[in-house]
């Protein structure tokens, strides 16, 4: 389980102290979920040794939320997750936070969250481990990459968020601002990042915001996240990497169908003794159509495109410069799937992926083997929640 940092522990103690105080009954809720996946792929491994069939994809979560006062709630979730070699972290404290909604008016509200909080970046980052809240079994890899080893860094952070919401006519505007102080990377985070980097890796201060507008059946949002890593050894700085993520999201929800599209622009900038100075801009995006045949059966289709370098979309320049394989620099993923929710507790998913290009292949799940740039995968998941 992840170690709980001191400020977070203090916060939890405050929460527990508050719990001991009141003479009236506290309102609380407990929820949980469990999902088991199966992956069968051809060409490359996805979440374990999936070319032979892999059950190495499961998620179990249990959370509790207590309302200390109408304005102040405390909430925590423990998560046990495994996703091939990209996530071996096992049991972890997923979030643990206090949320104080200090302002509620008829036309808006505002509040602050402190602790280990989920980062609401894009439409799905904050709930990416709960299959019931995802757009399918596999998240669109152009925006929510699982294989690159940085999901944990983007997913949640030990820090604070300010949030607010305001209604203007038919529009409902909301904003979230987040900050987390820098910290040293945990061993597991280092391992999935590539492992080989020597020295001390430290995550820089972390900032993000998301602006959102909802009107009619529409939802539009813009997210920005800034993160960085420094590498030091014996007091010498060996390198520094900075990342800027921009995500634009748009969704239209109608009675029978919804259309969702998101675009990611990722700029990275760095200098190190291993790489020399570099600068790169990658991007990608997807569009997904969900069609509710009945409230219980929803087929969906998605087209997803990822480019490691937006100025070299077919990878030819990369191939000429480095001798590497140009197919590793992009990925196109066509997905067809179906979701069946027979009742309020159970959910079943099945989806097939046809993929061209290697940009989204997980290096960890395919270590030591030649990857294939035309590949496919079938994913199945059964899940329960309460």
């Amino acid at each position: 389980m992840s170690k709980i940092p001191k400020p977070l522990a203090g916060l939890l103690c405050c929460g527990l102290a508050l719990l001991a105080l009141p003479a009236r009954a506290l309102e609380y809720q407990v929820h949980g979920f469990a999902a088991q996946g199966f992956v069968l792929s051809e060409g490359n491994n996805l979440f374990g040794s999936s070319r032979d069939g892999s059950f190495d994809l499961y998620e179990l979560g249990l959370n509790g939320t207590v309302a200390f006062t109408p304005a102040l709630i405390g909430s925590a979730q423990v998560l046990y997750r495994d996703a091939g070699a990209t996530d071996d972290d096992g049991l972890r404290l997923d979030y643990a936070l206090l949320d104080w909604q200090f302002l509620t008016r008829t036309d808006g509200s505002a509040g602050i969250r402190l602790g280990r909080v989920k980062n609401p970046v894009g439409l799905y980052n904050e709930t990416r481990d709960v299959v019931f809240t995802r757009p399918g079994i596999l998240l669109p890899q152009s925006v929510y990459f699982d294989g690159a080893g940085i999901r944990g860094l983007l997913f949640s952070s030990d820090g604070g968020q300010l949030y607010g919401r305001r209604s203007l006519g038919e529009h409902e505007l909301s904003a979230t601002l987040g900050y987390a102080p820098g910290r040293e990377l945990r061993d597991e985070e280092r391992r999935v990042l590539g492992g080989g980097i020597p020295g001390d890796l430290e995550l820089k201060d972390f900032h993000f915001f998301r602006l959102q507008d909802e009107w009619g059946g529409w939802l539009a949002s813009l997210s920005y996240l800034q993160a960085g890593v420094t590498v030091e050894q014996g007091g010498n700085r060996l390198g520094e990497f900075d990342f800027d993520f921009w995500i634009g999201s748009l969704r239209y929800s109608a009675e029978r169908y919804s259309v969702t599209a998101e675009y990611l622009y990722l700029r990275s900038d760095g200098n190190s003794v291993f790489t020399g100075p570099f600068r790169n801009s990658g991007d990608g995006g997807y569009i997904q159509l969900d069609y509710r045949l009945t409230p219980r059966w929803t087929p969906y289709a998605r087209l997803d495109a990822t480019y490691s370098d937006r100025n070299d979309r077919d990878g030819s320049r990369y191939e000429a410069l480095t001798g590497g394989h140009r197919h590793d620099r992009f990925a196109y993923d066509g997905t067809l799937g179906v979701r069946w929710l027979p009742d309020e507790h159970w959910g079943f998913w099945a989806e097939g992926h046809l993929i061209e290009g290697g940009a989204t292949i997980s290096g960890l799940d395919n270590a030591g083997r030649d990857t294939d740039d035309h590949w496919s995968a079938l994913l199945l998941t059964a899940a329960y929640r309460f």
Binding site: H31, N63, A67, T104, V130, S167, E172, S253, E344
Partner: protein, 156 residues
């Protein structure tokens, strides 16, 4: 010995409460006049006078606010996702669909930023629990603007 008397009081009290606390549906009812049935918001007696506009209603039923503007706790009651009245309420009063609400609740519950609403099994239970719970809000069916709707009649 006073059983009869008491239950009589209770019945008339209940009527008075329903009269007192109902509602706020005002102009939010079925836009199509003469429609068979309307759906109306039902609030607990302690917030009977609370002005509720569509924006606040949406914030409440998407579980984005947890307290009334006066700071007192809010308790949200809904019927099951596939209940026809829930469907009508989502469309007519919130301008959305049950599945969109469900997504919003899942988001709140699995990020620790909110509570899920309490699900009741019938309209009767809805009426009972909302009237008995301080700060509660829910919805019930009522007649269209042209009919002699119980709610309209007693509200105004």
């Amino acid at each position: 010995m006073t059983t009869t008397c008491r239950s009589g009081t209770r019945a008339s009290q209940a009527r008075a409460w329903i009269a007192a606390c109902l509602l706020v549906c005002l102009g939010l009812c079925w836009p199509a006049a003469g429609s068979a049935e309307a759906v109306a918001v039902l609030v607990a007696p302690d917030h009977a006078g609370q002005p509720i506009n569509r924006a606040l209603l949406r914030s409440i039923f998407t579980m984005r606010v947890r307290q009334w503007p006066d700071g007192r706790p809010l308790r949200v009651f809904v019927l099951a996702d596939d209940h026809p009245l829930h469907d009508r309420f989502s469309r007519e009063l919130l301008g959305t669909y049950p599945y969109v609400l469900r997504n919003a609740w899942d988001r709140a519950v699995y990020t620790g930023t909110g509570l899920a609403p309490s699900v009741v099994s019938s309209e009767d239970e809805m009426r009972r629990r909302v009237l008995a719970t301080p700060g509660a809000i829910g919805y019930i069916s009522g007649r269209g603007p042209d009919g002699r709707g119980e709610i309209r009649e007693e509200t105004n």
